[in-house]
């Protein structure tokens, strides 16, 4: 059943998924009122720059606003009021301030929260602002995590003049499990060339204030650091600044007692491949959700383009229009002036082939195959090649409808 043109849509969460859902609803012709309820005090903003340009100090929060002040969406934004409960009968939500909002449909778009081991984390602009204000010049920085967010942050800390940057990636080479040997080697080399140090497969077990550490005499650095990180192999790493980038958990605590099905492992809202939860009128998209294809491992979780594509597919399903196809998954990352782009179903690959470039030059173009068929590509400063690969595989809405 598609949404009536004058229906009131409630969107919970004013982040990327919330903004793009509102935008897609308008683009695809919805004329009824749209209310976006957000916990944050800011207008909806884009997060990728928080670990890059914003952290370097070259862009400011107002540069990251998603809505264009010169051409704003026809949407009512409610800020600084977190939603605390969902009601299915009548359909609506309750906020921390005690207000109840009735809606004809609800889109859950509350994103995720950083898992915090101690020290800094980067999920929202306050996190990034705290790290931006931290005295990084000359400091011993330790970054926990081996994903793109950790590597980007490590790169940014070198730009900011950190005295040393150590990454505790928890695997022999960063990205080895997800991206394969050649790319992991190239990333390792790229970062080492910029002075970043890796600690191999050891994992971080805990972060403690330096004064409270049990055996500070075993520490690797002299001086009086702020924190001590204990590793799984027994080593203790001292650091002035610790940043944990060890993944995120869906922001769904407010839904645990609702009728919605949550993933037992991650607590993400489970939906079909249009974002529909199975409960009439309730949909979910973005980092708080696990769509069917993500649950089976076909598609990645926690990336910008995934959220943008979901918003489009959700809006067309909700409005009963021509279905919007999900394109090949796509993600990018910027590290030390290298733009890394990956497209396709990398997680399913059983073989990795280097098509061009070298580990030494940091300009790899790598193909991912499954049973001999190419299913994905990754490029380091290979914008043309990645664009071409994605365009050749683009599914047009008409093709899906036919």
């Amino acid at each position: 059943m598609s949404l009536a043109p004058d229906a009131h849509l409630l969107i919970i969460g004013a982040g990327l998924a919330g903004y793009y859902t509102a935008r897609q609803m308008r683009t695809q012709g919805h004329t009824g009122p749209i209310t976006v309820l957000g916990a944050e005090a800011h207008p909806a903003y884009d997060r990728p720059a928080l670990s890059k340009a914003y952290l370097c100090g070259t862009t400011d929060l107002c540069d990251l606003y998603l809505d264009d002040p010169a051409d704003p969406l026809d949407v009512r934004w409610v800020r600084s009021d977190a939603v605390v409960g969902l009601s299915t009968e009548p359909l609506g939500v309750r906020t921390a301030s005690g207000t109840f909002y009735l809606g004809d449909a609800v889109v859950i778009a509350t994103g995720a929260e950083a898992r915090r081991l101690g020290g800094h984390a980067i999920r929202c602009v306050e996190d990034a602002a705290a790290l931006r204000a931290a005295p990084l010049a000359g400091a011993r920085v330790a970054v926990i995590g081996g994903g793109f967010l950790a590597l980007e942050t490590a790169a940014t800390c070198t730009t900011r003049g950190a005295g040393s940057v150590t990454v505790i990636a928890g695997e022999e080479l960063p990205g080895l499990r997800r991206l394969g040997q050649p790319v992991a080697q190239a990333l390792h080399r790229l970062h080492e060339q910029h002075g970043v140090r890796f600690l191999g497969a050891a994992r971080a077990l805990s972060v403690t204030p330096a004064g409270h550490a049990e055996h500070p005499e075993h520490a690797e650095h002299p001086g009086s650091p702020e924190h001590v990180i204990t590793l799984s192999d027994g080593r203790r790493i001292e650091a002035d600044v610790v940043i944990s980038a060890v993944g995120a958990v869906p922001a769904t605590a407010w839904l645990t007692r609702s009728a919605l099905a949550l993933d037992p492992e991650t607590q993400a809202v489970l939906t079909d491949d249009t974002g529909f939860t199975g409960i009439p009128g309730i949909w979910a998209a973005g980092d708080c959700a696990l769509w069917a294809a993500q649950r089976t491992g076909l598609r990645p979780v926690g990336h910008w383009q995934e959220t943008v594509d979901q918003a489009q597919a959700l809006a067309s399903a909700m409005l009963g229009g021509v279905p919007s196809p999900m394109q090949e998954p796509y993600l990018w990352s910027d590290q030390h002036h290298v733009t890394i782009q990956a497209a396709g179903m990398l997680a399913l690959a059983d073989e990795v082939q280097v098509l061009a470039g070298s580990i030494e030059a940091g300009d790899l173009l790598v193909s991912y195959l499954r049973e001999g068929t190419e299913i994905g590509i990754l490029g380091m400063n290979r914008l043309r090649e990645v664009v071409r690969w994605r365009r050749a595989r683009r599914i047009r809405p008409a093709a899906l409808a036919a």
Binding site: R23, D46, A49, A53, C56, T58, T59, D60, D63, L66, D68, A70, D71, W304, Q305, W332, T339, Q341, L383, R384, V386, V387, R388, R391
Partner: protein
């Protein structure tokens, strides 16, 4: 500089207005170029942008083709550079 499948020639500023990406590496279709990073597309004729994340268009320059030579008259408008990027 862009040469379309139809044989027309266009000139735009190369840097996307969203971030520092080269539009020359983008995809050209229907007289628009799609940014190679986040899919905003710009008109090759006017430089105008169709969808976020970029909010502003790029400058389009006047191109004339004379006896096989491409002449470009640079726009006098102020370039729309992404935040944090300055004219070299």
């Amino acid at each position: 500089m862009f040469l379309t499948e139809e044989g027309t020639v266009h000139a735009l500023d190369d840097t996307c207005t969203h971030q520092d990406a080269s539009l020359a590496a983008g995809w050209v279709e229907n007289c628009r170029v799609e940014c190679p990073l986040h899919e905003s597309t710009f008109s090759l004729r006017t430089g105008e942008v169709d969808q976020p994340p970029a909010k502003r268009g790029v400058r389009a320059h006047q191109v004339t083709v004379q006896d096989g030579e491409v002449l470009v008259e640079l726009s006098t408008a102020v370039p729309q550079l992404p935040p944090g990027v300055e004219v070299a």
